[in-house]
Symmetry: C2
Subunit: 141 residues, 2 copies
DNA sequence: GTACGTCTTCAAGTGGACTTCAAGTCAAGG
DNA sequence: CCTTGACTTGAAGTCCACTTGAAGACGTAC
């Protein structure tokens, strides 16, 4: 029990493939709890690697760090019935779907641009254009 | 010819559905030329609406404002043979395709998360995880 | 003793597209 | 004359996820 392995921040960074600054940053924004100290220096155990992995995973899934923080709290305060993290995931899923739709619009737009088919191009743009309203203040030169 | 209609920046903003600050901002970053002034105030003709529309269109296609600026210059200095804007559009098309790929990964990840299929989840994540390397500096204590 | 490497802290910088603010100008209307 | 509203300017603030820098402390190897 005395041989518990503790890692320096540099070692954690090497193992997890991140910069030390990122680990300190995560701590500063409340994603990671304050670790034990030894002579003023942070010391971690192996679990920190998993924690970093979870954050990385959630980020890959499109969550912002603020959202990851909420997710982690929800996981901890696990009310198994009304799992809020599922709601968050569903919302994010819709966001990602919308993102894909947007990207598809871009593709269509770019392809129209490339082929210089201006009619098609106008069709892509029209829905987002604000109709020109009647002038209310017109200056004459 | 004396009845040429000139618009105030506020009127342009209303017609185009943007804020005046955006118009000034575009001017400040060189997307729009300096307009004529009347008593110190900007006055525009109808073409400004089209210009704003073009910027909006290019943005929808995924170009940054810096890229839009380059696009406009290339359109002006139209060397019809070596049209650089086509190259830019092609590059952007590839960028958008990559973006869609990323979003699809996110979808898969989120769906795996929702179904709590951890094996599938690990498969999604594994390629981007850094393998844990041998410790070089381990603190005991 | 001194050079090296790692750690500590806090502050500020990055990029992109704007918005917001402060302080002042201008013309029209009452 | 005074208010109102739209305009002018430049500077600074916003969001996000970090990184970079400065300045200092500590331990270890030579």
């Amino acid at each position: 029990m005395s041989g518990e392995i503790r890692l320096s921040i540099g070692e954690v960074a090497r193992r997890a493939g991140v910069r030390t600054s990122k680990i300190r940053y995560y701590e500063s924004v409340g994603l990671l709890g304050a670790p034990a100290r030894s002579g003023g220096r942070r010391t971690y155990d192996g679990e920190i690697i998993d924690a970093l992995r979870v954050v990385q995973l959630a980020q890959q899934a499109g969550f912002t760090l603020a959202e990851v923080r909420r997710l982690l709290r929800d996981f901890d305060a696990a009310t198994p019935a009304s799992s809020r993290w599922r709601a968050m995931a569903e919302r994010k899923l819709r966001e990602v779907a919308a993102l894909i739709e947007l990207a598809r619009r871009r593709q269509r737009l770019l392809e129209a641009l490339m082929s210089c088919d201006c009619g098609q191009l106008a069709d892509c743009v029209r829905p987002t254009l604000v109709p020109i309203t009647r002038a209310s203040t017109v200056t004459r030169g």
